[in-house]
């Protein structure tokens, strides 16, 4: 019953880049390109190549359909997939290529504290974070939002949260889009989106979503100039979290996939090989409706991460008995790895307006790009790469060759093992003890959920980061080592 996927012939472009030609699959409009060291390419699930080739059949696609080195099979298009569509040439917008969890992303927060200050209190701190940030299956927001609040939040994003007192003004200037997708329109989302979202705002979720206390090991700073400029120093404790728009974003994607399936062929003459690739021309009523609804998803997610940051500051303040300001809990950056973004790029000497879909791929903008918030524009955009809870994460910066991928890079380690298999191989309680022995304290809602996220379930982060660094898509700034982890 399980489908076998054909492994294509790869043409080697460089040590980190491989190409599949247009004749691999009927209907491909462009070739596909996979960024991976040879080992990662060999280990990649063949379904990834099938899915990225399907992406290459979508109308208006420019240059190539891409896979990042952390790529693994998704639904419709792969996680780690990038595709840019020329909106003035019938280019499409597709919820499945954007990712169900709209604006799933990462936030990195610095402190003035060192690992020596924090380690003695790590259990108390992590347990306090666990209490303050709702996580896990069915976790519920501790805010009682009205529908009007949810409308404002959906249209204003993190700015709504700041306006309501849940954060600092500087949080906005260190968030992509300054925390708000301007084009969001609340009238484009369904009642089901509202009823799912209103109860989940400010919650972490579960699966691969987490909140981690990390530190900068001496010797793990690779770009000393930039690290210093961005306020990073050896021994420093930082906070990283990974979450998105929760059930609301998923409902927006499901609603519009269903809608597009009804109109795609008969109204726009678009035929697709996988229903999860449902799409509509960007410059159409249906395409614009999804774009505006996606904007709400982006804002819900920015507000969600902003509210979590508020709780993180409360927790630190409570445990260390000092104001968060005095502890130096300032946000370094917040960036999405699931969204479609309207950007101008040079394609063969011509400036084009492209809708760049990044699903499990981070925007990695080189210096000067207008997508980068002003305080980072001269350096390149900070890129946050989340690893597994056992291995660590990376802070990178937009690289010199990022324009090859329409300014896109990897987003994490990428899974290599199914959740069921991981649960069969690993016992949650034993994993907890092993990690504690290795200096990482975990507070999780569920032993089973913990077992599913073991380090063995993911690709080697160093190999992923090495590939994008060598390819020049993004460059290492520093590695971040986990001290503790809150999991849903």
């Amino acid at each position: 019953m399980e489908k076998e996927f054909k492994r294509p012939t790869f043409h080697k472009v460089s040590d980190t880049l491989w190409e599949i030609s247009k004749d691999f699959k009927k209907g491909m409009l462009v070739p596909t390109r996979i960024y991976a060291a040879e080992k990662l390419l060999k280990e990649m699930d063949p379904q990834v190549f099938d899915q990225v080739s399907n992406m290459a059949t979508l109308p208006g696609i420019e240059k190539y359909a891409f896979v990042m080195p952390d790529g693994h099979a998704g639904y419709g298009s792969p996680i780690g997939g990038v595709a840019a569509f020329d909106i003035n040439r019938g280019g499409v917008i597709s919820p499945g290529v954007t990712g169900y969890d709209i604006n799933c992303g990462m936030r990195l927060v610095l402190t003035d504290m060192t690992v020596k200050d924090v380690r003695p209190k790590i259990k108390e701190l992590t347990d306090t974070l666990f209490k303050k940030v709702p996580a896990g299956v069915g976790s519920k927001s501790d805010l009682n939002l009205s529908k009007k609040d949810f409308k404002d939040l959906s249209e204003e994003g993190a700015k709504w949260a700041i306006r309501k007192g849940y954060g600092w003004k500087d949080d906005i200037s260190s968030t992509e889009l300054e925390g708000k997708a301007e084009y969001a329109d609340f009238s484009k989302i369904s009642d089901m989106v509202i009823s799912r979202g209103i109860k989940q705002i400010g919650t972490l979720g579960s699966g691969n979503h987490y909140l981690e206390i990390q530190y900068v090991n001496k010797g793990d700073i690779k770009d000393e100039r930039l690290a210093k400029k961005w306020g990073i120093f050896p021994g420093q404790v930082v906070i990283m979290f990974h979450t998105g728009s929760r059930g609301a974003g998923h409902q927006i994607a499901s609603d519009y996939i269903k809608k597009f399936l009804d109109v795609m062929d008969n109204k726009y003459g678009i035929k697709i090989s996988d229903r999860e690739l449902a799409c509509a021309p960007f410059n159409s009523k249906d395409g614009q409706d999804y774009y505006k609804a996606m904007g709400c998803g982006i804002n819900i997610s920015f507000a969600n991460r902003q509210l979590i940051l508020y709780r993180v500051r409360e927790a630190f303040s409570e445990v260390f008995k000092k104001d968060a300001e005095k502890l130096g809990l300032r946000q370094l950056f917040d960036i999405a790895h699931n969204r479609a973004s309207l950007e101008k790029h040079d394609v063969d000497g011509e400036t084009k307006e492209l809708l760049v879909h990044r699903k499990g791929s981070t925007g990695s903008y080189p210096p000067g790009r207008k997508e980068i918030p002003k305080n980072y524009r001269n350096d390149g955009s900070p890129v946050i790469i989340g690893g597994s809870m056992e291995t660590g994460s990376y802070l990178m910066v937009g690289g010199p060759n990022a324009s090859e991928t329409f300014d896109s890079t990897a987003h994490g380690s990428g899974r290599t093992m199914s959740r069921t298999k991981a649960r069969g191989l690993t016992n949650g309680e034993e994993l907890f003890k092993k990690m504690l022995k290795n200096g990482i304290y975990v507070k999780s809602v569920s032993w089973s959920g913990l077992a599913e996220e073991s380090g063995e379930s993911y690709k080697n982060l160093e190999e992923v980061v090495d590939t994008v660094d060598k390819a020049g898509l993004s460059k290492r700034v520093c590695r971040l080592t986990p001290l503790s982890n809150v999991k849903g």
Partner: protein, 143 residues
Amino acid sequence: MGYRFIENLSIADVAFEAHGENLNELFVSSAEALENTMVRNIEKVKPETTREFGVSSNKLDLLLVEFLQKLISYKDTDQLIFSKFTVNVKEIKNDWRVRCRAEGEHLDPNKHDLVVDVKAATMHMLKVQKKDEEWTARVVLDV
């Protein structure tokens, strides 16, 4: 009647294959697979609270997805997990309809063995078919 989880079909997510002698049984098996993805040992979930709903679709496989999506939404809106299902699937003039009575209780981390939050039922590799007098469904859940 029953289900099994499929490994390595969609490694980041959860895939299952459900069976039933008829469509009603198939939908019940699929609902049980969904709830058991979120909470282990759903037989321990007491039938204390009831929700009744109906969904429709012009395609049978999409009806199953819509049905599972509705159950997922109760987890987000009312924090409900279900263990008992009474289901009636019908085809009326090329339109598929399902009515369901789902019984369960409010999620409680101290009481239930929570596993992972399901955010959507997808159409990825979705299949509903009848073979040798048995209905089979394959579904990938986004977690």
